[in-house]
């Protein structure tokens, strides 16, 4: 007989929380929301057991939902409903007049549009987390999520923070923190980044308007986030709905779905099933445990504890001492060292978003411990916060962190030939040859899954880092989690949770991922021999024994981990202070220190188009330090002092900006200054001017321009230069041009001997994407013909055809002479760049300056794409030239890859030029997401390496973390100086 079923359950197990609702007789009688700390099965069992008063003895219908519910539903043979679908059902039932839903979960973001047919969207795999992201950011600010929320409501300004994914945002926030930005403003900016990401990544051009419902944990709990959404979407209070069931929408949808399903279960039967599932064996992973047993671990510890520094008691020591400070991205480290290099005092802790305050406290502490017995005779600071601390406390020296680490490592092992440092946010590796740094590798912005990554993961699972690390040591079956960036690891962890992996196995897996990431992504080694014979590892992350063990195992050999692995930067700085000491230190005296004050104020610099967000730090007594500036002008240095050295990037920008805008009879034609247009603007400009068009360009890019077009970007993994194109088109539309021209160019110009002369697919065909995704772009006014630019005759034919389709008749003769004028202008342009390149090199030689080929693609000279790195290099004393200005001076020949892209060929030849000239260095700019550059970087690296030259690559994206770039360029300078010293 069919029994009347009146009880239905919906269980929503997301990436971080589990939600349960019970319906009885059509009424919601019970709901529960808890963090599951990745103990998915255990937590479900608990929650169901807790609900016994409502369920005992009953038969019920049940459905699971949520990313972590999937595996459980499969294992138990219980119905499963996809969570976005479940939300849609809930809203359709409970609030049918809703126009759109924005739901943020632990790691997923979803948008549902109801009008004109339900359209449900989820973030792609790269868009990063939301709830987990907010938690991570709170950790970074040293706040609880609740504190962050309430602070954010008191913000005064918003900083632009990359909204693409957590890792990028972190790269933006960290320098702001180190520069002393207010936490109130940062908190609100973080929420704004989430909002921007949701709108840009999910709405993709579709307007979120009408009655909008906001669901999910982050939007339920964070009022600051709500505020940012409402403000950004310009919703009235009636339009923005935050329902009481905001946390349970998915679970409710699952319960509704359950109701419609056939299967029913007895409550007790269900509990038994869950209990059994808890014990289900996972498929054993192939990875053996890190340590077989305690003895194994003890031996390992004993071996590593031999690499140590002597300590002396600060209470007894009498004499001179040297202070080293390493103000890192997330932690601040201090070492006070005696004359005989014993450690007197150390400090290692999170900088809690305010390194100045910490250093001040520590200095006071040190002074009180030193008394009159100890005199500080030298002080050096290194790390991200170097400039800030140097100025705040008037230290003697600042050194670039790579040099600090090398100095310390050399102390432990004079024969060291490889150093790997994994810190809070950076991975740094250097090879040492002949006692000098030979090559430096740093992690790119994308893969910074380092120390802070394990730390935030540990916290999200409810552990402190040391406990979390200890769990890993004897994990029985570590899980394999991949080697990509944090975002990917998040989802890999989710997968492991789904498979029922215990925390210990996940922790072990994470430590292996960090190691593999370093070896395969950053160092890109293929064998242990490639690293070197004497490897020293350091950085706070290596204090984690699981990471160290994983590294040795992956390498297949033992390495040296100094007991002060976390303090190596500070110790190296102290050693440096000693070596440079002139007997007394300039550091603030105890009296000055007690009078020390520090305030930070945010201002916008208006001295050039970059409009840098400056932080002005005041230290009392009129002392100031400005940070956040991309060039020296922000710091108050006059412009003419900076432009003294030749800078080909600037020269090229000036050439493009100087192209005249003449009024014409045939109408106004807009050329978006992005992607391939950076190369061919002189050609098209002259050609259309000759034809009688008024040529209007969109000008250089800016953050505002990007924001203008951001909403219509369909692929969030495309490169930044491509994404900017949308803003350029919007700008041209705003300028009311009659036509917009961006041709589809499969092939670029032929230059010298090459296998082929392609453009990359994005440069070649982005026009097709623009036409299909930008509603504001009128197809009747958009010209994007497929053209052959290597044959004037065919080009003329193609252009005439394209124009006639828009009703513009141009005679053959007219077009041919316009094409001729275009090519003449283009060739003159390129020739002038080459002449200027030669002139710059000659001038550098005359002045005894180094030349830097800041190489990339033509559009990398854009101030927004290049982030002013050219100016930074100039300020460091380099004469900056571009790849196309010196490519004709070098000859790369066969490069071991298929040399089939025009821009690529230039890079190779420019590299050959650098390889042949001792005073020329090459730094390659690579856009994140550039598939072609995965090939060119290897080719360029190879050319330089064969001639023993250093290769530096800088990955750029939306992020504007010039701090990291500066470290790289300064490390390069440091390494060059050391090499030179060796030769003399």
């Amino acid at each position: 007989m069919h029994q009347q079923i009146a009880v239905s359950l919906g269980v929503d197990v997301g990436s971080t929380t589990a939600k349960l609702v019970i319906y009885e007789d059509g009424c919601r009688v019970y709901e529960k929301y808890e963090r599951h700390l990745s103990q998915v099965r255990q937590k479900c069992l608990e929650m169901l057991s807790d609900a016994a008063p409502y369920l005992a003895g009953k038969r019920l219908k049940i459905a699971f939902s949520g990313s972590a519910g999937l595996g459980l539903a499969e294992a138990l043979a219980i119905p499963f409903v996809q969570e976005v679908y479940a939300t849609g059902e809930t809203v359709k039932r409970l609030a049918p007049d809703t126009s759109a839903v924005v739901e943020l979960g632990g790691e997923d973001a979803k948008v549902i549009f109801f009008e004109g047919g339900t359209d449900e969207r989820m973030n792609g795999t790269c868009a990063g987390g939301t709830g987990a992201f907010i938690d991570q950011m709170a950790t970074l600010l040293d706040l609880t999520p609740e504190e962050m929320d309430s602070l954010s409501l008191k913000h005064e300004r918003l900083y632009p923070i990359a909204s693409r994914c957590g890792v990028f945002a972190k790269t933006d926030i960290q320098p702001l923190l180190n520069q002393g930005a207010r936490k109130e403003d940062l908190a609100a900016s973080i929420y704004q980044a989430v909002v921007n990401q949701t709108i840009a990544g999910l709405a993709q051009g579709r307007k979120i308007a009408g009655k909008v419902m906001f669901l999910g944990g982050p939007l339920y709990y964070n009022y600051g986030l709500r505020e940012r959404f409402v403000k950004t979407l310009k919703l009235s209070p009636e339009e923005a709905i935050f329902p009481a069931y905001g946390l349970y929408a998915v679970a409710i949808g699952a319960a509704m779905y359950a109701e419609g399903q056939g299967a029913e279960f007895g409550y007790e039967e269900l509990l038994e099933k869950l209990d059994a599932a808890r014990a289900v064996k996972r498929v054993a992973s192939a990875i053996p445990p890190l340590f077989e047993n305690e003895a194994d671990y003890e031996a390992f510890l004993a071996r590593h504890n031999r690499a140590t520094v002597k300590t002396a008691s600060i209470a007894d020591y009498r004499g001179d001492a040297y202070l080293g400070i390493d103000c890192g991205s997330t932690t601040t480290k201090l070492v006070l060292m005696s004359e005989s290099r014993e450690i007197l005092y150390t400090y290692y802790n999170s900088n809690r978003g305010n390194p100045v305050q910490i250093v001040r406290e520590q200095l006071e502490q040190i002074y009180s411990l030193c008394g009159d017995r100890i005199r500080i005779c030298g002080s050096t600071v290194t790390g991200y916060g170097e400039d800030l601390i140097l100025h705040a406390f008037r230290l003697d020296h600042g050194i670039v962190e790579t040099m600090a680490h090398f100095t310390a490592a050399r102390y432990f092992d004079p024969n060291v030939d490889f150093i790997l440092d994994i810190g809070g946010q950076d991975i740094k590796c250097f090879k040492i040859a002949d006692g000098a740094i030979d090559s430096i590798m740093l992690n790119e912005a994308c893969s910074s899954g380092c120390g802070s990554f394990i730390e935030t993961f540990a916290r999200s699972m409810g552990y402190d880092t040391p406990t979390f690390a200890r769990l890993a040591l004897f994990a029985k079956a570590p899980v394999s989690l991949g080697t990509r960036c944090t975002v990917f690891m998040n989802s890999s962890v989710k997968q492991a949770q789904k498979d029922g992996a215990p925390v210990s196995d996940i922790s072990a897996g994470l430590s292996m991922s960090v190691v593999k990431n370093a070896i395969y992504k950053v160092i890109r080694a293929t064998s242990p021999e490639a690293l070197g014979k004497n490897v020293v590892v350091q950085g706070g992350t290596f204090l984690n024994d699981a990471v160290l063990r994983s590294f040795e195992r992956e390498l297949g050999r033992n390495v040296t981990r100094p007991t002060i692995a976390g303090l190596m930067g500070a110790y190296g700085a102290a050693l440096y202070a000693q070596s440079q000491s002139k007997g007394a230190s300039t550091i603030l005296t105890p009296d000055e220190l007690s009078a020390f004050t520090h305030t930070a104020q945010a201002v916008t610099c208006n001295k050039c188009t970059n409009h840098c967000q400056l932080t002005v730090n005041s230290f009392g007594g009129g002392k100031k330090y400005v940070s956040g500036n991309k060039c020296e002008r922000g710091a108050g240095i006059p412009a003419d002092a900076i432009r003294a050295l030749p800078n080909l990037h600037q020269y090229k920008r000036d050439l493009l900006a100087a192209l005249p805008q003449k009024s014409g009879t045939r109408g106004r034609i807009g050329l978006p200054l992005a992607l391939g247009m950076y190369e061919l603007l002189p050609l098209w400009h002259a050609l259309f001017t000759e034809l009688g068009f008024e040529v209007v360009t969109s000008g250089f890019s800016s953050r505002e321009l990007y924001a203008k077009g951001q909403y219509s970007i369909p692929s969030d993994t495309a490169c930044y230069p491509a994404k900017l194109m949308h803003g350029h088109i919007e700008t041209l539309i705003d300028r009311r041009v009659d036509y917009i021209f961006y041709p589809s160019l499969t092939y670029n110009v032929i230059e010298g001997e090459m296998d082929n002369h392609y453009n990359c697919p994005v440069v070649a065909y982005y026009s097709e994407l623009l036409k299909s995704n930008m509603d504001s772009l009128d197809p009747d006014r958009f010209l994007y013909p497929y053209l052959n630019i290597n044959d004037p005759r065919i080009l003329a034919r193609g252009l005439r055809r394209a124009l006639s389709q828009k009703g513009i008749a141009v005679s053959v003769g007219e077009m041919r002479s316009a094409v001729a004028a275009g090519f003449a202008a283009y060739h003159a342009h390129m020739e002038s760049i080459r002449r200027e390149g030669e002139r710059a090199v000659a001038e550098a030689r005359a002045q005894g300056k180094r030349v830097m080929i800041l190489a990339g693609r033509p559009y990398h000279i854009d101030p927004e794409i290049g982030h002013g790195i050219d100016k930074l290099a100039s300020s460091l004393g380099f004469v900056v030239v571009s790849e196309d200005s010196v490519a004709h001076l070098g000859h790369a020949g066969k490069v071991g890859v298929l040399n089939q892209w025009t821009y690529h060929a230039r890079l190779d030849n420019a590299a050959a030029f650098a390889a042949e000239n001792p005073d020329v260095e090459l730094v390659q700019l690579v856009s994140f997401g550039c598939g072609i550059d995965a090939i060119t970087t290897d080719a360029v690296h190879g050319i330089l390496q064969r001639r023993g030259k250093l290769y530096t690559q800088i990955k750029i994206d939306e992020i504007t973390n010039l701090g990291a770039v500066k470290i790289r360029l300064r490390s390069l300078l440091g390494a060059l100086a050391e090499r030179e010293a060796k030769h003399e």
Binding site: Q495, S715, I794, G929
Partner: protein, 434 residues
């Protein structure tokens, strides 16, 4: 630098006699038959079957991690085989495809050579399988007759794949289906290897294949939700590349529709004709390609005719029609990667009633920014009921994320198709939670 002689070893004529040539798996059926053709012409080829974590580990180790996932898998698979000790590495050559297009896939071969050199196997020659006369000089010649046989192999392979996909969800007996496929693979391989390949024989084979598949007993289940797969050529076809996507979809109760590999071959030939139109390339070359194109078309239409006449199976879409389908979305000049074909195949699927589509690509695939993800908005605008989900594949991407998104697509598709059982109504009376 010496530009005359390449710095890598060349596959020479005398290597043919005792060298084993390893071929990576891409599309098991089609590549299996293609290797038979190569053996017929004296190339001792062997299609690899290794998969699993060793493959991607090798890939990550030897290939730049920012390069696309297919490169990591293909090179990882070959390197694992080379290092397995199973083969005499002094008598070994590797084969890899090279499209010569503007996408980075043209450079896989160089990445493979570098990987070999790094691993200490720099002496192993790598053969480029391409149709654009790159890497001339190696003793691996694409003669008209070998190309003709290869075309036949692909046609057979596509037929088997299509019939398998159309039978699998509806059969009671998967073993029997597998047995039929195995039987025909053996038979066709043997024929391609030794037999005389007459036109009559081919047509007869088609008929027998159709008959054998039709004879497999069905459950009588109603037509399932059909889900099309388009995308980057490797992750579209290779179970290694797409986490067994086909199997997952079948398990989720769908029928998989996979446009054939022959279309991609067609696309490569067709692009040469477009190049003539757009860039004024050599007329003679274009004329040759036009002949090839016509031949391919007639062979495809032959199969379509026979399928229609002899069976209820859905035949492939004739390519001269497919080639028109991207009109209104993007130009046929968009020829890098899968280019316009990817967009055209979406329309092709929609036209044949398949409105649920998985667009599969490696993470960060350049051409797919345009032809895949870039075309979804207009596609959804033009075809209201269409349900497309873009899935990125990568060594670090988790399967659960991918499957969760596909599940969402399926749930919506079922809704649209009206297949979903009516959910019971739960009137909402707010009760205070306890």
């Amino acid at each position: 630098m010496n530009k005359e002689k390449p710095s890598y070893p060349i596959f020479t004529e005398d290597m043919k006699k005792d060298y084993t040539i390893l071929v990576p798996t891409m599309i098991p059926l089609q590549i299996g038959l293609l290797t038979a053709v190569m053996r017929r012409y004296g190339y001792n080829t062997k299609m690899l079957e290794n998969s699993g974590s060793g493959v991607i580990e090798r890939g990550l180790k030897y290939v730049h991690n920012d390069i696309c996932y297919p490169a990591q898998l293909v090179i990882g698979q070959l390197m694992e085989a080379v290092e397995s000790g199973e083969y005499d590495t002094d008598k070994l050559a590797l084969l890899i495809t090279q499209t010569g297009g503007g996408c980075r896939a043209s450079n896989y071969i160089h990445l493979l050579r570098r990987a070999l050199a790094t691993a200490g196997y720099g002496h192993i020659p790598v053969i480029s399988l391409n149709f654009s006369s790159i890497e001339k000089g190696a003793a691996f010649k694409m003669t008209p007759s070998i190309l003709y046989q290869m075309m036949q192999a692909v046609l057979y392979g596509d037929l088997l794949m299509s019939l398998k996909n159309q039978t699998r969800p509806y059969t009671r007996d998967v073993d029997q289906l597998d047995a039929v496929i195995e039987k025909w693979m053996e038979k066709l391989e043997a024929e391609l290897l030794h037999g005389k390949i007459s036109r009559r024989r081919v047509r007869q084979n088609y008929r027998c294949i159709l008959r054998d598949f039709s004879a497999i007993p069905r459950t009588g289940e109603a037509r399932r939700l059909r889900v099309g797969i388009v995308g980057e050529i490797f992750v579209k076809f290779s179970p290694l590349g797409n986490n067994n996507l086909e199997e997952f979809l079948v398990k989720e109760g769908a029928e998989v529709v996979l446009p054939g590999f022959f279309d991609f071959c067609f696309y490569c030939v067709y692009n040469s004709l477009v190049d003539r139109r757009l860039y004024g390339t050599n007329a003679l070359v274009a004329a040759v390609y036009r002949i090839v194109y016509r031949l391919m078309l007639s062979r495809q239409k032959e199969i379509i005719r026979i399928m229609k006449k002899e069976s209820d199976y859905m035949p492939p879409t004739p390519f001269d029609h497919t080639a028109t389908l991207s009109d209104g979305f993007l130009d046929n000049g968009m020829k890098m990667g899968e280019g316009w074909l990817l967009t055209a195949e979406m329309v092709e699927l929609i036209e044949s009633g398949v409105e649920s589509i998985v667009c599969a690509q490696p993470f960060g695939c350049l051409p797919n920014h345009i032809a895949g993800k870039g075309m979804m908005k207009p596609m959804k605008e033009k075809y209201k009921n269409v349900n497309i989900v873009a899935i990125d594949y990568d060594s670090g991407a988790s399967r659960i994320n991918q499957e969760n998104r596909i599940k969402l697509m399926l749930a919506n598709a079922r809704d649209v198709a009206g297949q979903k059982e009516k959910g019971a109504t739960i009137p909402e009376k707010e009760k205070t939670p306890v």
